[in-house]
Assembly symmetry: C2
Homo-oligomer: 249 residues x 2
């Protein structure tokens, strides 16, 4: 079997954050599959077929990629950010595990990328500079009770936290509940950052506190970072810097 | 002030994982500072001064970088992986906050990189494909009691986990205690991955279970990933794939 699948992370949006490994994979591909806005980031060229599909068809898209690779194509599955963080890698492996046995002979690799929380943290300073956790706030694929359990234990562990998918049209109330839980577990002065469209032209980073945060500060383009109890702000004439020190007494 | 500081992530070791943004910063720099093995990854050239320093002098190195930038130099502080994840960004901001007031006028940015846990996860499959946490197991800068507290709550939250600095010469017993805590909180079949020198020529990934794990499986080059209760293995003729499904019932 000469085909392959590479599940590649395009980073948060800026082309200067795409690794050379991913650029090279795209140059060798015969086919690219992915969600419409991510496929739109790949330049068309002769010999390359672009297969853009809508959101929420991750398994169909994965099966298509594996079928094409089994037929000898060189397929790149594109994700935003890092494919292993709430993106396409797990979906492709679900399709692989549940698919025909011969798919397990396909040459399949994951090419890491700059995930949104780390791009956002870099723009703000270093709020994830010490122990932290990463939670997908969508309850499409898990019960809300598990999200609440994880939020409470993460706060009690004094992790800094990064949240993906904080709000969608179908779940406007999810982030309202998240703020209630955090206010229940943390002090009102706890720092919270709303990082929108990081590395892109319309980037916006808002630094506030749990007391001042409101649900309308998130949308589907936002990654949220909550500091630990040790996270601090350095005020400057330029944008303030938010960081978590390395030392905990 | 025309100088600047860019705190840049070189990724886990393979040059194909260095972002173009970081490559460009290095091309513009007058000075590079960092830990000896990371500075050794930067090619010498005319007009560039390399300042390599030993481990455990992060604050001295940060102050040196800020002093040079205040004097007009273009300084890149190099980290392995991502500078915001247990690396140089927090150290530079500690030095900035505690330094002379005029340092706050320095143009200072963080350039993200591929952090070790995400490079390791990509090589293994997608073990961090759902909610996870990231813990530095070194007790140089925090009490062991806090590490134990975080490990227990993280296991109770059923996070996948990534551990940095699992073992050092001065703390051979730390990882012994970590395994004891995990065995206390998780089932013996829980998957654990020891990922050494990821993306480099001597890369080695070992997949085992908590029951079979032993402290000698870690060294200072190792990132450890512990699956959640949902993390699975796909067996193949090639290396097995470890992934965490997106769906939790």
């Amino acid at each position: 079997m000469s085909g392959w699948v590479k599940i590649a992370g395009l980073g948060p949006g800026n082309e200067a954050l795409v690794t050379p490994e991913v650029t090279q994979a795209l140059a060798q591909a015969t086919d690219v599959v992915g969600y419409i806005p991510y496929v739109a980031r790949v330049a068309p060229r002769a010999g390359l077929t672009l297969h853009a599909s809508d959101n929420r068809v991750e398994i169909d898209r994965s099966e298509h990629a594996l079928q094409m690779a089994a037929a000898g194509k060189r397929v790149v599955v594109v994700s935003s950010g890092d494919p292993g963080v709430f993106a396409m890698a797990s979906a492709v492996f679900e399709a692989l595990e549940n698919g025909p046995r011969e798919w397990r002979e396909i040459d399949i690799t994951v090419l890491p990328g700059i995930t949104a929380m780390l791009a956002a943290a870099a723009r703000a300073g270093a709020p994830l500079g010490h122990d932290f956790c990463t939670i997908n706030l969508s309850d499409n694929l898990k019960p809300w009770s598990l999200i609440e359990h994880r939020l409470r234990l993460a706060a009690q562990a004094d992790f800094a936290m990064a949240f993906y998918n904080p709000r969608s049209k179908s779940r406007p109330e999810g982030f309202v509940k998240t703020l209630e839980i955090l206010r229940d577990e943390c002090e009102p002065e706890r720092l919270i950052l709303f990082c929108r469209a990081v590395s892109r032209a319309d980037e916006a980073i808002r630094i506030t506190t749990l007391a001042e945060a409101t649900p309308d500060m998130v949308d589907m383009q936002t990654v949220v970072i909550v500091g630990s109890s040790r996270t601090r702000v350095i005020e400057r004439d330029a944008d303030p810097i938010v960081y978590t020190p390395r030392f905990t007494p």
